[in-house]
């Protein structure tokens, strides 16, 4: 599926709805003006509220949507030379471009000029907002703004139609990418050559970005960035493939053996597959992520691997992929209660002493019946012959 038009009706409807949903939450929270900030490190590990409200992935250091409760929103971007692209891509048509050094003054001037200076203001920029900027808001706004990060994160968790369309496009690319990986990876190649070809392939399918960890060894301790290690028969190839379409990332985690998997490898992968399915079955609206973790860990603990269900043998059992952010993680400690319509990657990826690190992860959507995979086919222990 190729997504090409910024004026796609579904896109425009979804962004208009995001504005209205945000305003509803602003009313509830007593916010008159929201500053939704974004920086150019768009990723799935930290939020970009400016992108979520506009659909514009910036190259400049700063963007901000100024969203009043009852007036037309304004989109401020940097740098000036990127204005044409911003006007083309942004779902908010009123675009003002300035240089990064002028950003704060421009925001301040626009707020003053539009009579919004006395509005009760909130800022959302997540972890990537530079500290100097975060500390500048009170003086620039003449008030201590409230933090709207959680509000924005909660809003973005429940996917709208445009988000799901882009997500499904990314899922399709991820699956095709993995299929291509199985076709092209061969003993004798270096890890980073395999990774480079996969990256180029997903780009050729339309993914504007892709986070991937790709590594292989006879007994992996974990997955990592590609090195110059030469792939060998019997190596276990680990791939975390995370393409993005229109800023929506999705992740699959896969494991494949160069050669025929051993019975032991099949047994241990089946254990992780059972863990994943157990976690997915438990992941219903209203259930805590801690309970999902418990469900996911149960088959692993039952098999005698409790010690390996915590770091450093694993990192996390999954995480959100919304708003370009991992909030919340599927962890014992996140305290999150699952919401219908939210999208996660769930992955009981971990080290197993008998076989090494295995990866087994699916993008899922939370439904009343549990987490449903978004892939056409859930991961299996692959074989590269």
């Amino acid at each position: 599926m190729t997504i090409v038009s910024a004026r796609d009706p579904l896109r425009l409807q979804s962004y208009a709805a995001r504005i209205e949903r945000t305003r509803e939450q602003m009313r509830t929270a007593g916010i008159d003006l929201l500053i939704a900030y974004g920086n150019n490190r768009h990723s799935f590990i930290a939020m970009n509220p400016g992108w979520w409200l506009t659909g514009f992935k910036q190259v400049g250091e700063h963007i901000a949507v100024l969203l009043p409760i009852d007036d037309e929103p304004l989109f401020i971007i940097t740098p000036k030379w990127d204005r044409e692209r911003a006007e083309e891509r942004s779902a908010i048509p009123n675009v003002i471009a300035c240089e990064p050094a002028e950003f704060l003054d421009t925001v301040k001037a626009e707020i003053a000029g539009r009579g919004w200076a006395r509005a009760r203001t909130a800022v959302s920029g997540g972890l990537q907002m530079p500290r100097y900027l975060r500390e500048s808001w009170p003086a620039a706004l003449g008030q201590e703004p409230t933090n709207a990060d959680q509000m924005m994160s909660d809003l973005a968790k429940v996917r709208d139609d445009w988000s799901l369309k882009c997500t499904m496009a990314a899922v399709e690319i991820a699956e095709k990418g993995y299929a291509r990986l199985l076709e092209t990876a061969r003993p004798g190649m270096m890890e980073h050559h395999v990774a480079g070809e996969l990256e180029a392939y997903v780009r050729s399918l339309g993914a504007e970005d892709n986070f991937q960890l790709l590594s292989a060894s006879q007994h992996n301790r974990s997955v990592h960035m590609p090195t110059n290690r030469v792939l060998q028969q019997g190596d276990i190839l680990l791939g975390e493939i995370t393409p993005a379409v229109e800023g929506e990332y999705i992740q699959i985690c896969r494991t494949a053996v160069f050669g025929k998997p051993t019975a032991l490898q099949q047994e241990k992968f089946a254990m992780l597959d059972e863990a994943l399915r157990s976690g997915m079955a438990a992941a219903r609206p209203g259930v805590s992520t801690a309970d999902v973790v418990a469900a996911m860990n149960e088959p692993i603990i039952r098999a005698g691997y409790e010690k390996y269900t915590v770091p450093p043998y694993m990192r996390t059992r999954g995480h959100s992929m919304s708003l370009g952010s991992m909030d919340p993680e599927i962890s014992t400690f996140s305290g999150h209660i699952l919401v219908k319509g939210s999208v996660f990657v769930m992955h009981p990826n971990q080290y197993i002493p008998d076989t090494g690190y295995f990866m087994c992860g699916e993008p899922v959507i939370i439904t009343d019946e549990g987490a449903k995979p978004l892939t056409s086919r859930m991961g299996e222990l692959g074989s590269i012959l």
Partner: protein, 368 residues
């Protein structure tokens, strides 16, 4: 040059000891320790945000991880990362630092504990990376190190690592080699009838195969202004302007396609003027002025918006920025990543170069 930053560094990652032997980092550490003594510091904390690491920590560790590095008056540094430590097995292969610790809690406590272990119970602790810290991380550090005097050492540290060491220059040349191959590959695709988007995609592919760790790319995909890759499509343009930034082993270089910046083009003339203005002690703003003066007036604002470059090394945006009015002086041994994008007008052009600041002139850095 501003460019969309890819999600995380994820290309070829390996500590190449042929470029950076362990003794290189030992020597850097000794030099930093000497600077610390000169500043009366008992310890130095170098902070790097997990979400976007910078060169400060990597300069001493060789590994651009998020977290903090603790340097004391003698001995080897200790490195701290947040999280559960799954990544440490791999990280230990990428760095010479042997004392590597992780903690799921804030780093302030483990830094204080390590200072205590090293017998430094009080004194002056320099901090590099204040701007990298979140408010929470800063408060945690201040609280846990409340028995110490915290001193901002960021400016001094930046100045210390401004002139590039011989092996840093080697790494930059390696990155430049990849950057040149990437833009040549993109040009070849364009010359064969491909679109400007195709050229940008091919440049990234080649850069990855050649061993880059991180990539930035822009091309005139639609119209005369540069754009990042966002999706397939885009009509072939009358000419190709292609710029790439390449990180190999943490060191950055950039390049643009030669056809876009011929010496007689507006960008080519501005670049030549900037290079001619370079020597030790010259203000960065004067280099910018030389470039702008060489451009037709109607192209200046747009070129300035793209920027004219900055010092480069473990980042493409080290100080000083080549921008009008910047009084910061160039220093012998610095490497500058200069560019000019004259994308307005009838004949858009783009030119770039890596230049080593010499005592009396600038010298082009060559690919290996």
């Amino acid at each position: 040059m501003d460019a969309m930053i890819t999600v995380l560094e994820r290309g070829f990652t390996w500590w190449d000891r042929s470029v950076f032997p362990r003794d290189e980092f030992e020597e850097r550490t000794r030099a930093v320790q000497a600077a610390m003594r000169g500043a009366g510091l008992d310890a130095l904390v170098i902070w790097s945000q997990s979400y976007h690491t910078n060169g400060d920590l990597a300069f001493l560790s060789g590994w651009p991880m998020g977290g903090a590095l603790l340097v004391t008056g003698d001995g080897e540094p200790a490195m701290f990362s947040p999280g559960g430590g799954r990544e440490q097995y791999f990280a230990r292969m990428q760095t010479w630092v042997e004392d590597m610790r992780s903690t799921p809690a804030g780093l302030g406590g483990i830094i204080a504990q390590t200072l205590d272990e090293k017998g430094i119970m009080a004194g002056r602790v320099g901090i590099v990376g204040y701007d990298q810290m979140s408010a929470g991380a800063l408060n945690d550090l201040k609280e846990k190190l409340s028995g110490y005097e915290l001193v901002d050492f960021g400016t001094a540290y930046s100045a210390f690592r401004a002139p590039k060491r011989a092996r840093e220059l080697l790494a930059i040349r390696n990155s430049l080699t990849i950057a040149r191959k990437a833009v040549e590959a993109g040009q070849a695709i364009y010359d064969a009838g491909g679109s400007n988007t195709d050229a940008l995609v091919e440049a990234e592919r080649v850069a990855r195969l050649e061993g880059m760790r991180d990539f930035r790319g822009l091309a005139n995909i639609a119209g005369s202004q540069l754009r990042p890759f966002e999706r397939l499509g885009g009509a072939r343009q009358p000419s190709l302007l292609l710029w790439v930034g390449i990180d190999c082993h943490g060191y950055w270089a950039h390049a643009s396609n030669a056809a876009a910046g011929r010496p007689d083009s507006a960008a080519g003339r501005a670049l030549a003027a900037m290079i001619s203005a370079i020597s030790h002690g010259v203000a960065a703003g004067d280099v910018a002025k030389a470039g702008l003066d060489a451009l037709p007036e109607e192209l200046r604002d747009n070129a300035l918006s793209y920027g004219l470059g900055a010092a480069a090394g473990l980042s493409l945006n080290e100080a000083p920025a080549i921008t009008p009015g910047n009084d910061e002086k160039l220093e012998e041994g610095q490497v500058l990543a200069l560019h000019c994008c004259a994308s307005g007008g009838d004949e858009p052009s783009l030119a770039s170069a890596m230049v080593l600041v010499g005592q009396d002139s600038g010298e082009l850095v060559e690919a290996r």
